[in-house]
Amino acid sequence: MNFPAELKYSKSHEWVKMDGDVAVIGISDFAQDALGDVVFINLPGEGDSVTAGEAFGDVESVKAVSDIISPVTGVICAVNEDLADAPENLNSDPYGAWIIKVENITGQEDLLDAAAYEALCAEEG
């Protein structure tokens, strides 16, 4: 399992990459593996507000549906619409397949670094 060192992670298995003032958000390798084959993603719209610790969308695998929790509070400035047609990219390339980009960030959850997140996954594993 892959835990890129340059990313931060939430306890609910999202990853965040800061690109200047913009937070790029996706789901982790551990999350996609636990979900199994992802078949559908419910995406928010550009301009929607997101709140740290609250769901902004959901991802469906064959087995089940899971909320995607925003690690930050802010406004969505970009949505990866490609995922609507190819949700399986979340399985094949979880760190390439970003879901949303958030700007005007006013708050964030306590995020973990790669080592701490890997330890958390090992525990849940």
Partner: protein
């Protein structure tokens, strides 16, 4: 998960990297590293293995086992023969399901009941209480035998490698067999929970389970977990206890008849007695019938039903989500997910399954019983109402070896009729008919065994004046059985018909002939109708009884369609009260030659069932039928029956070189006059009853079931043509029939020598008829036949007795009669065999060589062709104005 139970294959799953979960108290693989979608797709296009050892396996033994099972199950256990299985439900008194189950009869005197893993304890407690009143025992053998489901289009091929070529089971759903796989005994069932038309569940001793699993994987199968099992069964529309059976989200019990499929598992036969839940189920059945007739006035007993549902908006439905119609909640989704499928292109038999895949959000719903197919509903998916539709089904399995996804498509509006220039179309039609005539008569090698070409004289007579006349006639007792015609101008037709009757009596060797039936199928219908009428002749005040047991050749063993309940027998055969199916008994076939009737086993069945009618005859026919042996047997045993021989395919072979049906003891012969008999397309009935016989009355009934029973206008043009064909046949039959059989044997030998897989017994040169059967590989028949057609060789793709149906055909059925008639001799068939091997085995273009070979043989033989004949034909041709 330490308190969970593990199957015999637990270690194998863990070693394969499976994700293990708690399922009904068992630690089971939900998926392997490949994932649910890949496992689902691999099942649909190749072969997957499922460990189903967690399901409860209960052995029911003892003298009162049948009475007990009749009491605790909904199905009719008496209908289950040895080596058959049936779907059943364990009902409660309210007509709800305690569980659904499969009942297997591998042995004469024991039954195996397989139940859901999560329900095994509950089922066992219920059954143990009920069994106290019966002299029988229930033994839980779940731990002694493992169960592996082997499912998918390649399952048969893979298992057959392990069986060393032995057939796994008969190629019909629910067939069972006990056999050896590389020396280990297994019990195989043609059952499954994936909807695959090819799929088996294999029971094996616990200690051999891992061995079998690993061998199957070595041979190309892949493991699949419970996740794929669920998406596969959902796509196939099969219910899952706890979702489509049991209690609904409101906590109310779902009636068994809420699942449409359940009606096949519920019997109200007298044999069932007063079983648990019977009265409630009878009320449900009545409610179900009303609903099916769209009478929604009383929905109390069956307020909701299980229906398939397809999401039209983007999203995924899940179990428990509410379903709305016009803003009002009408039920819930009971199962739902996103299911993958292979895309396909092309139409009909040419449909090609692509490697490209897609997904669709489908499910089942428990919704108001007045919802109809194609109705639009809404599903509440986490607060959003999304549009969905009720499709007729999600998948079909009637084109084996593949299960085919059916994507929801609303009906398209029919294109407007083309009303353009009809005069131009008329010319175009003639031009195309000319082209077709030339192709089939001069360029093609026609090997369809049920076809032939008629002589020019026959063709000409078919087109002459009587083709447009009427000549109804009937024997009148007051006139000493003289025929009375209803129309004037029919003297010539009367004369022709009398001459034809005499020619056909001579040909068949019998006392009476009916020539007015216009097809082989109609011949059979007239005979079946007459048999039924004659059976009821002494009681006209009650609804007539249908025919009781009828013995025939099973369609997959080469039997005629027109002698099956799905064909001409349909309206004349009774339902067997024990099996609740058509009262047909099939001829058993020899183990070492599936194309031949096993006479000794047949005698046992005749003794047991006492069939009212025995129908010999096949459409895939390599051998003589054992008419004489069976006649001797029924006479010796004094068994009252009627022996009929449907000679459709072999009518042109009646005589010294094949069979003389009446000399052998047939009472009735039917047939079509355009297969080996080279006349126009008509039917014929011959009987050998004499005026003083009791059954002469049956003959008179056959005449009246021909007219007015079956035809008013009996197609007088082809009747005239048939008289000419009968003259030709009676003149040339010795040479024609001998050449046909010699050519067929030679053709078979040459095809074999060329490396093709010829069916039949090599010791008799494969065939005793005009037919030759070549195996070209499971499911490859349609493709190879198409390739041959592109090369001007016309054959018939055909399922062999071991295959599932015509779309899975692996054989070509060929006949030599038409080309023999065009003068093909042994060396021509040898050349043809060489060309066909080039095309079939080496994919070579043989079209030019075929045309060349055909061009050498365009003059018809076995017909009159002297100068006087040509002059006479010219006269008629001139009168017709050509």
């Amino acid at each position: 998960m330490s308190d969970l139970k593990r199957t015999q294959l637990y270690d194998v799953h863990v070693a394969a990297g499976a994700e293990m979960v708690d399922f009904g108290g068992w630690e089971m693989p939900i998926q392997y590293p490949t994932g649910i979608i890949a496992e689902h797709l691999y099942t649909r296009h190749a072969c997957s293995l499922f460990d189903v050892s967690h399901m409860g396996r209960l052995l029911v033994d003892g003298p009162e086992r049948v009475a007990f099972l009749q009491h605790v199950l909904t199905s009719n256990v008496m209908a289950l023969e040895v080596n058959q299985a049936q779907y059943s439900i364990i009902p409660n008194e309210n007509g709800g399901a305690i569980d659904d189950a499969y009942l297997y009869r591998f042995e004469e005197d024991r039954f195996l009941l397989v139940v859901n893993a999560a329900n095994t304890e509950k089922d066992l407690a219920h059954l143990m209480t009920e069994v106290k009143n019966y002299d029988c025992t229930i033994t839980d053998i779940t731990a002694d035998w493992a169960a592996i489901a082997v499912q998918g289009p390649k399952s048969k091929e893979i298992l057959t490698i392990l069986s060393g070529g032995e057939q796994i089971t008969e190629p019909v759903k629910n067939a069972l067999n006990t056999l050896q796989l590389e020396g280990r005994t297994v019990r195989a069932a043609k059952t499954g929970y994936t909807g695959e038309p090819l799929g088996y569940e294999v029971y094996i001793k616990s200690e051999d389970a891992a061995w079998l699993w690993n061998r199957l994987i070595e041979l190309g199968a892949k493991p699949a977990g419970l996740g794929a099992r669920d998406t596969l069964r959902l796509e196939a529309g099969m219910p899952l206890y706890g979702h489509e059976m049991g209690v609904d989200p409101d906590g109310k019990e779902m009636p068994i008849f809420a699942v449409s499929l359940a009606r096949f598992a519920v019997s109200f036969s007298e044999q069932k007695g007063d079983y648990i839940g019977r009265q409630a189920l009878e009320r449900q059945s009545a409610a179900f019938k009303r609903i099916m007739n769209r009478d929604f006035s009383d929905l109390d007993v069956l307020p909701k039903r299980i229906m398939p549902i397809t999401l039209l908006d983007r999203g995924v439905m899940r179990a428990g989500m509410p379903v709305y119609r016009n803003g009002e909640q009408i039920g819930w989704v009971t199962s739902g997910t996103m299911v993958p499928y292979y895309r396909s292109e092309g139409e009909g038999l040419a449909t090609k399954i692509l490697d490209d895949t897609a997904k669709r959000a489908i499910g089942t719903a428990y919704i108001a019983s007045d919802v109809l197919t194609d109705d639009i509903v809404e599903v509440d998916i986490r607060g959003k109402r999304l549009k969905a539709v009720i499709p007729p089904y999600h998948m079909r399995v009637d084109a084996p070896p593949f299960a085919r996804p059916i994507l929801y498509k609303p009906d398209e509006e029919a294109a407007a009729a083309d009303t353009g220039n009809r005069a131009a179309k008329a010319v175009e039609l003639l031009r195309k008919a000319t082209e077709n005539h030339e192709w089939r008569q001069k360029q093609c090698i026609n090997l369809i065994p049920s076809e032939n070409s008629a002589s020019r004289a026959v063709q000409l007579l078919c087109a002459s004046d009587p083709a447009f006349r009427y000549a109804e006639h009937r024997k009148i007792k007051s006139f000493y059985d003289q025929d009375v015609f209803y129309y004037q101008g029919t003297k010539f037709i009367d004369e022709v018909e009398q001459l034809l009757v005499e020619q056909m009596k001579e040909y068949l060797g019998c006392s009476e002939v009916e020539t007015r039936v216009i097809s082989g199928q109609m011949s059979n219908m007239a005979v079946f109708s007459a048999l039924m009428d004659w059976k009821n002749r002494l009681d006209r005040k009650h609804t007539p009884q249908r025919l009781g047991y009828v013995m025939n050749n099973h369609i997959i063993k080469g039997g005629h369609l027109s002698a099956q309940p799905m064909g001409a027998l349909h309206d004349y055969i009774a339902i067997d009260p024990v099996t609740e199916r058509s009262a047909v008994v099939n001829f058993p076939v020899c183990k070492d030659n599936i194309y031949k009737i096993d006479v000794e086993e047949t005698k046992k069945l005749i003794d047991r069932y006492r069939p009212e009618l025995i129908i010999f005859g096949k459409s895939m026919v390599l051998h003589k039928e054992p008419v004489a042996a069976i006649r001797r047997f029924v006479d010796e045993q004094n068994i009252p029956t009627t022996i009929m021989y449907d000679m459709a395919h072999v009518l042109g072979l009646v005589g010294d070189h094949f069979q003389k049906p009446f000399e052998e003891g047939a009472e009735i012969v039917t047939g079509s006059t355009h297969k080996t008999f080279f006349g126009p397309q008509r039917g014929i009935v011959g009987v050998n009853y004499k005026k003083e016989d009791l059954k002469y009355g049956l003959w008179e009934t056959i005449e009246s079931r021909a007219f007015p029973g079956s035809v008013s206008n009996h197609h007088l043009g082809t009747q005239l043509g048939l008289l000419m064909a009968a003259y030709e046949m009676n003149t040339f039959k010795d040479e024609y029939q001998r050449n046909i059989i010699e050519n067929a044997k030679h053709f078979a030998k040459c095809l074999k020598a060329q490396g093709l897989d010829v069916a039949g017994d090599p010791s008799i040169d494969y065939t005793e008829t005009h037919q030759v059967i070549v195996s070209v590989g499971y499911g490859c028949g349609p493709e190879v036949a198409e390739r041959l057609e592109e090369n001007n060789v016309i054959v018939n793709y055909q399922a062999t007795p071991e295959e599932e149906g015509f779309t899975a055909s692996g054989a070509l059925r060929m006949g030599v009669s038409e080309m023999t008639r065009f003068g093909f001799e042994k060396e021509d068939f040898a050349k043809l065999a060489e060309l066909m091997a080039d095309c079939v085995l080496r994919n070579k273009d043989i079209s030019g060589d075929v045309e060349k070979l055909r061009a050498e043989h365009t003059e018809m033989r076995y017909c009159f062709n002297d100068e006087e004949m040509r002059d006479a034909m010219g006269g008629l041709l001139g009168q017709i104005g050509l």
